[in-house]
């Protein structure tokens, strides 16, 4: 048996992330004692409609977040308990609504810093509605073997250590949250554990008091003794003493009261809890509480450390009198272990997980990124440049100085080609439409394809094919291309020709062949091809795509990576265009009608729909 919370308890948590964390802890307990999930719903308007993932052992539950308590209760009529995890400024309204809700019997609030007046009103409202309002500042309520409300009891391991998987004979009522856990541990270590433990919170005016719960424990036949942990301030402990002395009580009371040190501390000093404050003329002092409780027959040790002995002594007496039957110790090994996460099991080496992806180029798990094993900062330190990072990430090789210089030139030459071309124009239109940088640049990027900039890869690919399959046989190659591919990628230009050569091509070819020692079979082959094609038609020159493609093949980049150079280079240009349009605060672009040939039907009447 238990008080307040049991196997029939079903809860809704009002609040955000702290509430979800509490629900996860509560589900661990649900798993331990093999009961259905306690938390059935959340109420948190900013996350309405979301579902929170809550594991009960290995079972994944999706718990819905509602915008109001009313909606949560409508869809989950089994809920009888509300946990309040919301901020102090909204706690009162939430709790009041909860107390007014049909079917709700218990409202417990963890929120700290709730104004006193709000707490007083909630206490009064609970009394009027005949419901229990526990808190504010309560860590929660625990009924061993039955139900956990809040994070009371701490981590999973502690739940077992404190025997919380099965009921014992001790009740626990504390103001402090931390000490509720300590008291449960003491009852497990020195007795047979608890029935229920309640933290009432350390505020000045808690919604409930020791007497409320002493009465409940007195009426719970399984509870044989109650441990009270109180402290200086207020009169709740005195009232408990009065309750105890009123008539012969079935339950034994053991108590520890904090705050006897008050005499030597600065007057009016604030302890950890708002309510821990001595009144005028010693009213509510720890000493007066201890005296009252002792006079009423409670066992009150000198220090908190003395509680162990006191609990043990009471337990022995209860065993001797036969009030408690010694229970066979449960083998802890029979208790379920919390399923570990994949990461935890992998650490132990007990499971094999097939990786979802594989990478061979970079690793960011250490203190800094490493590119194919080299740390980024060391590359910087040793004078490597962006071309070397390209070499590493695209081809897993560190280029030589000469090779780097070529890569650098290819990118420089290809970085931009004015606003008129498809890519830049696309980026500019987007920029003028107020689109942000990444999206505007990718609008330009989408232009890269068979007709714009996308020829580098294919040029490299087919010239490489020619070198391999048709060495010294250019006509054979051209013939094969004609039959299988069509026009040779990398050959031909709309405006440039033999008479009007492309300066970039000229420069690149001269640079690579004149100033580097790079072996250039592919480029040489393409230049041979150009000789033949230009003899047929003046503008069938080796264009810049073809030149770059061949040089990159000669640099040993994989052929399918070659378009990457154009994409990378043009990104620089497109970002430039986007910034440029923004700097000018350009207006939205709309085509003038005179730039459009409206080859449309004459205006006519819409026929009736048949």
């Amino acid at each position: 048996m238990s008080i307040l919370a049991n196997r029939d308890t079903r809860a809704v948590i009002i609040g955000g992330v702290a509430g979800v964390n509490a629900a996860r802890r509560m589900a661990q307990f649900d798993f331990l004692v093999n009961r259905p999930l306690t938390v059935r719903a959340f109420v948190y308007p900013p996350e309405e409609g979301q579902q929170k993932e809550i594991y009960r052992g290995g079972e994944l539950n999706n718990v819905t977040v509602y915008s109001s308590l009313g909606k949560a209760l409508e869809e989950n009529p089994e809920i009888n308990t509300v946990l309040i995890y919301i901020g102090a400024s909204r706690a009162y309204q939430s709790a009041k609504e909860a107390l007014d809700a049909k079917g709700i019997k218990l409202v417990t609030m963890i929120t700290e810093g709730v104004p006193e007046k709000d707490a007083k009103r909630l206490r009064k409202h609970a009394l009027e509605t005949g419901k229990i309002f526990n808190g504010p500042s309560s860590i929660g309520i625990m009924s061993a073997g039955e139900c956990r409300l809040g994070v009371i009891g701490g981590e999973y391991k502690n739940l077992k250590l404190c025997n919380l998987y099965r009921p014992g004979s001790f009740g626990v009522i504390t103001k402090s949250g931390g000490l509720s856990n300590e008291a449960m541990w003491l009852c497990a270590q020195n007795g047979d554990g608890i029935t229920s433990a309640v933290a009432i919170g350390g505020d000045s005016y808690p919604g409930t008091d020791f007497v409320t719960y002493l009465n409940m424990f007195e009426n719970d036949p399984d509870t044989k003794a109650v441990v009270i942990v109180g402290e200086v301030g207020g009169t709740l402990e005195e009232e408990a003493a009065e309750w105890l002395s009123q008539e012969i009580r079935r339950i034994k009371v053991i108590a520890s009261i904090g705050g006897t040190c008050q005499d030597v501390l600065p007057q009016g000093m604030k302890f950890g809890h708002a309510g821990a404050k001595e009144g005028k003329k010693g009213l509510g002092s720890a000493r007066s509480k201890i005296n009252a409780l002792r006079a009423a027959g409670a066992v009150v040790p000198d220090t908190f450390g003395g509680l162990s002995k006191a609990i043990k002594q009471v337990y022995q007496e209860l065993l001797k009198s036969g009030a408690i039957k010694p229970e066979a110790e449960l083998d802890e090994k029979l208790l379920p272990a919390l399923p570990p996460s994949v990461q935890e099991v992998m650490k132990q080496g007990d499971v094999i997980v097939e990786p979802l992806i594989r990478t061979t180029i970079s690793d960011d798990r250490g203190e800094e990124p490493r590119y194919v094993g080299y740390s980024a900062s060391e590359l910087c330190e040793k004078g490597y440049g962006i071309e070397d990072v390209i070499g590493l990430l695209w081809n897993k090789k560190l280029p030589s100085k000469e090779e780097s210089e070529i890569i650098k030139r290819i990118i420089m030459i290809s970085a931009d080609h004015g606003p008129a071309v498809s890519g830049a124009f696309g980026a500019i239109i987007a920029a003028c439409a107020g689109i942000d940088l990444p999206q505007a640049v990718s609008a330009g990027m989408t232009m890269i394809g068979p007709r714009f900039g996308g020829a580098v890869t294919n040029a490299g690919k087919y010239f490489k094919y020619g070198v391999k399959e048709y060495p010294n046989d250019i006509p054979g190659f051209l013939n094969w291309m004609k039959q299988n591919v069509g026009p040779v990628p990398g050959i031909g230009h709309r405006v440039k020709s033999l008479k009007n050569p492309d300066k970039r091509v000229k420069y690149l070819v001269e640079y690579v062949k004149g100033q580097t020692t790079l072996h250039t079979p592919c480029l040489d082959y393409a230049l041979q091809v150009e000789k033949i094609t230009t003899s047929k038609k003046d503008n069938l020159i080796l264009n810049v795509d073809g030149t770059i493609g061949c040089i990159l093949v000669d640099l040993d980049f994989p052929e399918y990576s070659l378009n990457g150079f154009f994409v990378l280079a043009r990104t620089i240009g497109m970002i430039g265009h986007w910034i440029d349009q923004n700097n000018q605060n350009s207006r939205l672009i709309r085509l003038y009608d005179y730039l459009i040939n409206y080859a449309v039907k004459e205006e006519r009447v819409v026929p009736d729909k048949r």
């Binding site: 102090a88 701490g154 931390g178 904090g258 705050g259």
Partner: protein, 398 residues
């Protein structure tokens, strides 16, 4: 609980129609002279000058001067501003009109669990304690307001007569309004004075506590609560308070000069029991400290360093219950860093450290703490099987 100074209390009284004397709060005596040129009452009334600080026993310390003219008030202000009393410095004085009056009354209101209690007596002033049996009490249930008639009746019973009773009742009803609407916890007016010639009332002195947790609904609260420990906060205390205001969870510190056992304890409840255990065993604490609610490790580290710097300490009690959700490993790593840092600065010499703790990641936390032995710390580490406050017994028997 937050005590506020007389100036802000007077301002709130004004807001709710409780009569107050003319007053000004100043930091600069010259400003008072200037204000004198602008305000007739400063030139023509007898004045009282009081240090506007949270300092107990101001009268005996010469921080209250009565019956002054403007010149005298400027002199008194000059004398008081800048004076150091213990750890406190007088920064401000409040200069108020000393109302010639015929009688002094007592009027107060304080909250309790079920509402509040209004107290009044027609024998107010310094002797109120001796006249406590003349105090008439009215219980005001939560969210109820007694009628003027009810209060007047009670005032009559308390010995007020005729029109005075009616006027006192009216002031009391405004006091109730002020109490309710300003989230006050207690307001004490002593004395409430009356000058019968023109039936003028004024609250000459006021002690007011407001609920600082309610400040979110009082945007016009432009004041800060004053130190509640009968003295100004020390620099270290102020530092920890500033951290406390910024973090999730909390860290707290109060210094207790003269003690030699330092507390670095966790939890609002447990920390008090550790203080108690030291006192019960005849020891003397050097501080009260508490961290709770899973505070960030750097905040605990700062608290640790502050505590290590306390003078003349022989023991540090790193105590705590079995935490519900405060991560022992994380908070202990803050404490360990604090210890190391302090030791490197020459603190912790001949200081014994006693540790007892449980909670999430307790094994890792305690093991890390135990490793400090190898770095030459005189540290004794116990787990949950050690009764919570028994490390205090061990320390005092060492």
């Amino acid at each position: 609980m937050a005590k506020i100074l007389e100036g802000p209390a007077m301002k709130l009284f004004n807001k709710w129609g409780i009569p107050v004397p003319n007053y000004v709060v100043i930091m600069d005596p010259d400003r008072l002279a200037q204000l004198g040129e602008a305000n007739k009452w400063l030139r023509e009334s007898k004045l009282v000058v009081k240090a506007h600080e949270a300092i107990g026993g101001r009268y005996k310390l010469g921080l209250v001067k009565l019956g002054l003219n403007l010149e005298g008030a400027v002199e008194a202000a000059k004398e008081m501003i800048g004076r150091e009393i213990g750890t406190s410095v007088v920064h401000q004085v409040i200069v108020a009109e000393m109302l010639d009056h015929d009688e002094e009354y007592y009027l107060s209101i304080a909250g309790n669990r079920d509402g509040s209690e209004l107290l009044f007596s027609n024998k107010g002033g310094v002797d109120i304690e001796d006249n406590w049996d003349t105090v008439k009490r009215i219980f005001i249930p939560l969210d109820m307001t007694p009628s003027i008639e009810q209060i007047t009746e009670a005032a009559l019973e308390a010995g007020f007569i005729g029109e005075v009773a009616e006027r006192v009742a009216k002031i009391a009803s405004r006091l109730i309004l002020c109490f309710d609407n300003e989230d006050a916890q207690s307001i004490e007016i002593n004395p409430l004075v009356i000058r019968k010639s023109d039936m003028r009332f004024a609250a000459l002195d006021a002690v007011m506590n407001v609920d600082w947790d309610a400040r979110f609904r009082h945007p016009d609260w432009d004041f800060k609560p004053v130190s509640e420990i009968g003295r100004s906060y020390t620099e270290a205390e102020q530092q920890i308070m500033d951290i406390d205001a910024r973090i999730k969870g909390s860290v707290k510190l109060v210094e207790v000069p003269g003690g030699n056992i330092a507390l670095l304890t966790a939890g609002g409840g447990a920390s008090v029991f550790y203080s108690d255990a030291v006192v019960a065993r005849g020891g003397s604490i050097a501080n009260y400290a508490e961290y709770s609610g899973d505070p960030p490790d750097w905040a605990v580290e700062a608290l640790t360093e502050t505590i290590c710097r306390l003078p003349n300490i022989k023991h540090i009690i790193v105590g705590g219950a079995i935490a519900n959700f405060t991560d022992v490993k994380a908070t202990f790593s803050g404490i360990i860093n604090g210890f190391r840092e302090s030791k490197s600065k020459g603190y912790l010499e001949n200081v014994k450290i006693w540790v007892r703790r449980g909670g999430p990641n307790e094994n890792q936390g305690l093991a890390a703490m135990k490793l400090l032995q190898e770095e030459g710390f005189d540290i004794h580490v116990y787990d949950r099987s050690m009764p919570m406050t028994d490390i205090v017994d061990l320390a005092l028997n060492a």
